[in-house]
Symmetry: C2
Amino acid sequence: MIQYSALLEKFKQLLKNNELKFTKQREFILKALYDNEGHFTPEELHDLIKKKAPNLNTSIATIYRTLGLLEESKIINSISFGSKGKKYEFGLKSHHDHLICIECGALIEFEDEVIETRQSQIAKEHNFKMTNHTMNIFGICENCQNTDQNR
Amino acid sequence: MIQYSALLEKFKQLLKNNELKFTKQREFILKALYDNEGHFTPEELHDLIKKKAPNLNTSIATIYRTLGLLEESKIINSISFGSKGKKYEFGLKSHHDHLICIECGALIEFEDEVIETRQSQIAKEHNFKMTNHTMNIFGICENCQNTDQNR
DNA sequence: GTTAGTGCAAATCGTTTGCACGGTT
DNA sequence: AACCGTGCAAACGATTTGCACTAAC
Protein backbone atom coordinates (compact mmCIF):
# COMPACT_ATOMS: atom_id res chain seq x y z
CA MET A 1 0.00 0.00 0.00
CA ILE A 2 1.25 3.44 -0.92
CA GLN A 3 2.60 5.63 1.91
CA TYR A 4 0.53 8.68 2.72
CA SER A 5 3.43 11.05 2.11
CA ALA A 6 3.94 9.58 -1.34
CA LEU A 7 0.26 9.80 -2.07
CA LEU A 8 0.18 13.43 -1.01
CA GLU A 9 3.09 14.17 -3.30
CA LYS A 10 1.37 12.40 -6.16
CA PHE A 11 -1.78 14.37 -5.53
CA LYS A 12 0.05 17.70 -5.40
CA GLN A 13 1.81 16.88 -8.62
CA LEU A 14 -1.48 15.96 -10.22
CA LEU A 15 -2.97 19.27 -9.19
CA LYS A 16 0.01 21.22 -10.42
CA ASN A 17 -0.05 19.48 -13.77
CA ASN A 18 -3.62 20.57 -14.24
CA GLU A 19 -3.22 24.08 -12.88
CA LEU A 20 -5.40 23.25 -9.94
CA LYS A 21 -4.83 24.43 -6.41
CA PHE A 22 -3.91 22.47 -3.33
CA THR A 23 -6.44 23.36 -0.67
CA LYS A 24 -7.02 22.26 2.91
CA GLN A 25 -10.39 20.86 1.91
CA ARG A 26 -8.92 18.66 -0.78
CA GLU A 27 -6.19 17.49 1.55
CA PHE A 28 -8.62 16.50 4.29
CA ILE A 29 -10.88 14.62 1.91
CA LEU A 30 -7.94 12.70 0.50
CA LYS A 31 -6.70 11.87 3.98
CA ALA A 32 -10.10 10.77 5.19
CA LEU A 33 -10.36 8.28 2.35
CA TYR A 34 -6.81 7.07 2.85
CA ASP A 35 -7.14 6.63 6.60
CA ASN A 36 -10.49 4.93 6.71
CA GLU A 37 -10.93 1.41 5.43
CA GLY A 38 -14.38 1.08 4.05
CA HIS A 39 -16.91 2.53 1.70
CA PHE A 40 -18.54 5.91 2.19
CA THR A 41 -21.35 7.89 0.69
CA PRO A 42 -20.57 11.56 0.01
CA GLU A 43 -22.86 12.38 2.91
CA GLU A 44 -20.98 10.10 5.30
CA LEU A 45 -17.69 11.54 4.16
CA HIS A 46 -19.06 15.01 4.75
CA ASP A 47 -19.91 14.11 8.34
CA LEU A 48 -16.50 12.55 8.83
CA ILE A 49 -14.72 15.66 7.60
CA LYS A 50 -16.88 17.86 9.76
CA LYS A 51 -15.68 15.89 12.76
CA LYS A 52 -12.01 15.83 11.78
CA ALA A 53 -11.86 19.48 10.80
CA PRO A 54 -14.87 21.34 12.17
CA ASN A 55 -13.25 24.72 11.69
CA LEU A 56 -12.89 24.09 7.95
CA ASN A 57 -16.66 24.10 7.49
CA THR A 58 -16.39 22.03 4.33
CA SER A 59 -19.55 22.02 2.25
CA ILE A 60 -21.17 19.03 0.62
CA ALA A 61 -20.61 20.67 -2.75
CA THR A 62 -16.87 20.59 -2.22
CA ILE A 63 -17.08 16.95 -1.20
CA TYR A 64 -18.77 16.13 -4.47
CA ARG A 65 -16.36 18.23 -6.50
CA THR A 66 -13.33 16.62 -4.87
CA LEU A 67 -14.71 13.10 -5.14
CA GLY A 68 -15.20 13.67 -8.84
CA LEU A 69 -11.65 14.87 -9.17
CA LEU A 70 -10.21 11.97 -7.21
CA GLU A 71 -12.21 9.40 -9.08
CA GLU A 72 -11.19 10.80 -12.43
CA SER A 73 -7.60 10.54 -11.29
CA LYS A 74 -8.12 6.90 -10.27
CA ILE A 75 -7.17 7.65 -6.67
CA ILE A 76 -10.57 6.51 -5.49
CA ASN A 77 -13.27 4.20 -6.85
CA SER A 78 -17.01 4.37 -6.65
CA ILE A 79 -19.66 1.72 -6.44
CA SER A 80 -23.08 2.71 -7.63
CA PHE A 81 -26.34 1.79 -5.92
CA GLY A 82 -28.73 2.84 -8.65
CA SER A 83 -31.00 5.63 -7.51
CA LYS A 84 -29.76 5.10 -3.97
CA GLY A 85 -26.50 6.93 -4.60
CA LYS A 86 -22.87 5.90 -4.61
CA LYS A 87 -20.17 4.80 -2.23
CA TYR A 88 -16.49 5.65 -2.51
CA GLU A 89 -13.38 3.84 -1.41
CA PHE A 90 -9.67 4.48 -1.59
CA GLY A 91 -8.51 3.09 -4.89
CA LEU A 92 -4.75 2.69 -4.89
CA LYS A 93 -4.66 -0.84 -3.65
CA SER A 94 -4.71 -4.09 -5.57
CA HIS A 95 -7.79 -4.45 -7.69
CA HIS A 96 -10.70 -6.19 -6.08
CA ASP A 97 -14.41 -6.71 -6.54
CA HIS A 98 -17.41 -6.75 -4.27
CA LEU A 99 -19.99 -8.98 -2.73
CA ILE A 100 -22.99 -6.82 -1.86
CA CYS A 101 -25.66 -7.87 0.57
CA ILE A 102 -29.08 -6.81 -0.70
CA GLU A 103 -30.51 -6.93 2.80
CA CYS A 104 -28.08 -5.03 5.00
CA GLY A 105 -26.00 -3.29 2.32
CA ALA A 106 -22.74 -4.80 3.58
CA LEU A 107 -19.83 -4.73 1.16
CA ILE A 108 -17.30 -7.54 1.20
CA GLU A 109 -14.18 -7.23 -0.92
CA PHE A 110 -12.49 -10.07 -2.74
CA GLU A 111 -9.66 -10.50 -5.20
CA ASP A 112 -9.57 -13.10 -7.91
CA GLU A 113 -6.75 -13.60 -10.34
CA VAL A 114 -8.78 -15.78 -12.67
CA ILE A 115 -11.37 -13.08 -13.17
CA GLU A 116 -8.84 -10.30 -13.56
CA THR A 117 -7.06 -12.17 -16.32
CA ARG A 118 -10.22 -13.12 -18.10
CA GLN A 119 -11.47 -9.52 -18.08
CA SER A 120 -8.34 -8.30 -19.85
CA GLN A 121 -8.67 -11.02 -22.43
CA ILE A 122 -12.29 -10.22 -23.13
CA ALA A 123 -11.55 -6.53 -23.58
CA LYS A 124 -8.78 -7.41 -26.00
CA GLU A 125 -11.02 -9.78 -27.96
CA HIS A 126 -13.47 -6.91 -28.54
CA ASN A 127 -10.75 -4.38 -29.44
CA PHE A 128 -11.82 -2.50 -26.38
CA LYS A 129 -9.37 -0.22 -24.62
CA MET A 130 -10.16 -1.11 -21.03
CA THR A 131 -9.82 1.66 -18.46
CA ASN A 132 -11.62 0.08 -15.57
CA HIS A 133 -13.81 -2.81 -14.61
CA THR A 134 -16.15 -3.75 -11.83
CA MET A 135 -17.73 -6.94 -10.70
CA ASN A 136 -20.52 -7.08 -8.18
CA ILE A 137 -22.06 -10.20 -6.77
CA PHE A 138 -25.41 -9.47 -5.14
CA GLY A 139 -26.99 -11.75 -2.62
CA ILE A 140 -27.58 -12.37 1.03
CA CYS A 141 -24.62 -12.40 3.36
CA GLU A 142 -23.98 -15.12 5.91
CA ASN A 143 -25.12 -12.86 8.70
CA CYS A 144 -28.47 -11.98 7.16
CA GLN A 145 -29.14 -15.59 6.19
CA ASN A 146 -28.92 -16.51 9.86
CA THR A 147 -31.00 -13.54 10.96
CA ASP A 148 -33.70 -14.47 8.47
CA GLN A 149 -33.99 -17.96 9.93
CA ASN A 150 -34.76 -16.50 13.33
CA ARG A 151 -37.77 -14.59 12.17
CA MET B 1 -35.04 -17.32 -26.59
CA ILE B 2 -38.50 -17.54 -25.14
CA GLN B 3 -41.49 -17.02 -27.46
CA TYR B 4 -43.49 -13.89 -26.90
CA SER B 5 -46.71 -15.80 -26.42
CA ALA B 6 -45.07 -17.91 -23.72
CA LEU B 7 -43.64 -14.83 -22.09
CA LEU B 8 -47.01 -13.14 -22.05
CA GLU B 9 -48.53 -16.21 -20.46
CA LYS B 10 -45.80 -16.26 -17.85
CA PHE B 11 -46.37 -12.60 -17.14
CA LYS B 12 -50.13 -13.00 -16.79
CA GLN B 13 -49.61 -15.90 -14.44
CA LEU B 14 -47.19 -13.87 -12.40
CA LEU B 15 -49.71 -11.06 -12.11
CA LYS B 16 -52.50 -13.42 -11.17
CA ASN B 17 -50.38 -15.09 -8.51
CA ASN B 18 -49.78 -11.74 -6.89
CA GLU B 19 -53.29 -10.43 -7.28
CA LEU B 20 -52.14 -7.81 -9.73
CA LYS B 21 -53.98 -6.72 -12.83
CA PHE B 22 -53.10 -7.19 -16.45
CA THR B 23 -53.27 -3.78 -18.09
CA LYS B 24 -52.57 -2.46 -21.57
CA GLN B 25 -49.75 -0.33 -20.19
CA ARG B 26 -47.98 -3.29 -18.65
CA GLU B 27 -48.43 -5.31 -21.79
CA PHE B 28 -46.96 -2.61 -24.01
CA ILE B 29 -43.99 -2.08 -21.76
CA LEU B 30 -43.23 -5.78 -21.70
CA LYS B 31 -43.57 -6.01 -25.45
CA ALA B 32 -41.36 -3.00 -26.07
CA LEU B 33 -38.58 -4.57 -24.03
CA TYR B 34 -39.05 -7.95 -25.70
CA ASP B 35 -39.11 -6.59 -29.23
CA ASN B 36 -36.23 -4.17 -29.00
CA GLU B 37 -32.72 -5.46 -28.66
CA GLY B 38 -30.78 -3.01 -26.61
CA HIS B 39 -30.68 -1.06 -23.40
CA PHE B 40 -33.08 1.72 -22.54
CA THR B 41 -33.45 4.38 -19.91
CA PRO B 42 -36.94 4.75 -18.46
CA GLU B 43 -37.18 8.00 -20.38
CA GLU B 44 -36.28 6.33 -23.68
CA LEU B 45 -38.77 3.58 -23.02
CA HIS B 46 -41.40 6.17 -22.30
CA ASP B 47 -40.79 7.82 -25.68
CA LEU B 48 -40.88 4.44 -27.38
CA ILE B 49 -44.21 3.54 -25.83
CA LYS B 50 -45.62 6.93 -26.72
CA LYS B 51 -44.81 6.19 -30.36
CA LYS B 52 -46.12 2.61 -30.35
CA ALA B 53 -49.30 3.43 -28.48
CA PRO B 54 -49.93 7.19 -28.53
CA ASN B 55 -53.55 6.78 -27.54
CA LEU B 56 -52.55 4.99 -24.36
CA ASN B 57 -50.94 8.14 -22.99
CA THR B 58 -48.70 6.15 -20.66
CA SER B 59 -47.09 8.21 -17.94
CA ILE B 60 -43.48 8.06 -16.85
CA ALA B 61 -44.66 7.02 -13.40
CA THR B 62 -46.21 3.88 -14.83
CA ILE B 63 -43.01 3.14 -16.72
CA TYR B 64 -41.07 3.27 -13.46
CA ARG B 65 -43.63 1.21 -11.60
CA THR B 66 -43.71 -1.47 -14.28
CA LEU B 67 -39.94 -1.56 -14.67
CA GLY B 68 -39.66 -2.15 -10.95
CA LEU B 69 -42.15 -4.96 -11.18
CA LEU B 70 -40.46 -6.59 -14.15
CA GLU B 71 -37.03 -6.34 -12.63
CA GLU B 72 -38.19 -7.86 -9.37
CA SER B 73 -39.62 -10.73 -11.37
CA LYS B 74 -36.30 -11.19 -13.18
CA ILE B 75 -37.92 -10.59 -16.54
CA ILE B 76 -35.68 -7.62 -17.15
CA ASN B 77 -32.28 -6.49 -15.88
CA SER B 78 -30.92 -3.07 -15.10
CA ILE B 79 -27.49 -1.57 -15.42
CA SER B 80 -26.77 1.40 -13.21
CA PHE B 81 -24.89 4.52 -14.31
CA GLY B 82 -24.44 6.15 -10.94
CA SER B 83 -26.15 9.51 -10.78
CA LYS B 84 -26.76 9.28 -14.52
CA GLY B 85 -29.62 6.84 -14.09
CA LYS B 86 -30.19 3.27 -15.16
CA LYS B 87 -30.72 1.31 -18.33
CA TYR B 88 -32.94 -1.71 -18.71
CA GLU B 89 -32.81 -4.71 -21.00
CA PHE B 90 -34.87 -7.82 -21.55
CA GLY B 91 -33.53 -10.40 -19.14
CA LEU B 92 -34.76 -13.84 -20.11
CA LYS B 93 -31.79 -14.76 -22.21
CA SER B 94 -28.54 -16.44 -21.25
CA HIS B 95 -26.60 -14.49 -18.69
CA HIS B 96 -24.14 -12.02 -20.08
CA ASP B 97 -22.06 -9.05 -19.01
CA HIS B 98 -21.23 -5.69 -20.52
CA LEU B 99 -18.50 -3.70 -22.11
CA ILE B 100 -19.38 -0.03 -21.67
CA CYS B 101 -17.84 2.73 -23.72
CA ILE B 102 -17.12 5.75 -21.55
CA GLU B 103 -17.13 8.06 -24.57
CA CYS B 104 -20.25 7.18 -26.51
CA GLY B 105 -22.11 5.13 -23.91
CA ALA B 106 -22.34 2.08 -26.18
CA LEU B 107 -23.10 -1.21 -24.48
CA ILE B 108 -21.65 -4.42 -25.88
CA GLU B 109 -22.76 -7.73 -24.45
CA PHE B 110 -20.57 -10.75 -23.93
CA GLU B 111 -20.87 -14.15 -22.34
CA ASP B 112 -18.09 -15.93 -20.57
CA GLU B 113 -18.34 -19.33 -19.00
CA VAL B 114 -15.11 -18.98 -17.06
CA ILE B 115 -16.34 -15.89 -15.28
CA GLU B 116 -19.80 -17.31 -14.61
CA THR B 117 -18.32 -20.35 -12.95
CA ARG B 118 -15.82 -18.39 -10.94
CA GLN B 119 -18.51 -16.05 -9.63
CA SER B 120 -20.52 -18.93 -8.23
CA GLN B 121 -17.44 -20.35 -6.57
CA ILE B 122 -16.54 -17.05 -4.96
CA ALA B 123 -20.05 -16.60 -3.59
CA LYS B 124 -19.91 -20.07 -2.15
CA GLU B 125 -16.50 -19.47 -0.58
CA HIS B 126 -17.92 -16.49 1.30
CA ASN B 127 -21.09 -18.31 2.34
CA PHE B 128 -22.95 -15.82 0.27
CA LYS B 129 -26.35 -16.70 -1.17
CA MET B 130 -25.95 -15.21 -4.63
CA THR B 131 -29.06 -13.80 -6.26
CA ASN B 132 -27.51 -11.87 -9.09
CA HIS B 133 -24.23 -10.61 -10.42
CA THR B 134 -22.96 -8.03 -12.83
CA MET B 135 -19.67 -7.39 -14.51
CA ASN B 136 -18.91 -4.22 -16.35
CA ILE B 137 -15.77 -3.50 -18.30
CA PHE B 138 -15.37 0.22 -18.93
CA GLY B 139 -13.20 1.62 -21.65
CA ILE B 140 -13.13 3.03 -25.13
CA CYS B 141 -14.80 1.08 -27.89
CA GLU B 142 -13.12 0.36 -31.22
CA ASN B 143 -15.23 2.99 -32.92
CA CYS B 144 -14.34 5.81 -30.54
CA GLN B 145 -10.67 4.89 -30.61
CA ASN B 146 -10.69 5.49 -34.34
CA THR B 147 -12.72 8.67 -34.07
CA ASP B 148 -10.29 10.04 -31.52
CA GLN B 149 -7.39 9.58 -33.89
CA ASN B 150 -9.11 11.79 -36.45
CA ARG B 151 -9.35 14.78 -34.17
C1' DG C 1 -2.96 40.60 -8.42
C1' DT C 2 -4.76 36.89 -10.89
C1' DT C 3 -7.20 32.75 -11.04
C1' DA C 4 -9.23 28.84 -9.11
C1' DG C 5 -11.85 26.98 -5.02
C1' DT C 6 -15.23 27.52 -1.71
C1' DG C 7 -19.83 27.91 0.77
C1' DC C 8 -24.28 28.82 0.13
C1' DA C 9 -28.69 28.37 -1.79
C1' DA C 10 -31.17 27.57 -5.75
C1' DA C 11 -31.61 24.55 -9.63
C1' DT C 12 -31.59 20.15 -11.79
C1' DC C 13 -32.20 15.34 -12.69
C1' DG C 14 -33.87 10.85 -12.01
C1' DT C 15 -37.21 8.66 -9.34
C1' DT C 16 -41.12 8.12 -6.03
C1' DT C 17 -45.53 9.17 -3.99
C1' DG C 18 -50.45 10.95 -2.72
C1' DC C 19 -54.58 11.45 -4.65
C1' DA C 20 -58.81 11.28 -7.41
C1' DC C 21 -60.41 8.86 -11.27
C1' DG C 22 -60.86 4.95 -14.62
C1' DG C 23 -60.19 0.11 -15.90
C1' DT C 24 -59.78 -4.87 -14.66
C1' DT C 25 -61.41 -8.50 -12.15
C1' DA D 1 -69.12 -3.45 -6.85
C1' DA D 2 -64.44 -3.90 -5.08
C1' DC D 3 -59.94 -2.87 -5.68
C1' DC D 4 -55.84 -2.16 -8.24
C1' DG D 5 -53.47 0.79 -11.73
C1' DT D 6 -53.13 5.00 -13.81
C1' DG D 7 -52.09 9.96 -14.86
C1' DC D 8 -50.99 14.03 -12.90
C1' DA D 9 -48.42 17.04 -10.25
C1' DA D 10 -46.10 17.62 -6.21
C1' DA D 11 -42.43 15.69 -3.35
C1' DC D 12 -38.08 13.72 -2.86
C1' DG D 13 -33.07 12.72 -2.48
C1' DA D 14 -28.76 12.82 -4.65
C1' DT D 15 -25.97 15.69 -7.28
C1' DT D 16 -24.78 20.01 -9.81
C1' DT D 17 -24.44 24.85 -10.65
C1' DG D 18 -24.32 30.21 -10.44
C1' DC D 19 -22.64 33.54 -7.74
C1' DA D 20 -20.07 36.52 -4.65
C1' DC D 21 -16.36 35.96 -1.71
C1' DT D 22 -11.89 33.85 -0.07
C1' DA D 23 -7.62 31.51 -0.53
C1' DA D 24 -3.71 29.62 -3.30
C1' DC D 25 -0.51 30.77 -6.45
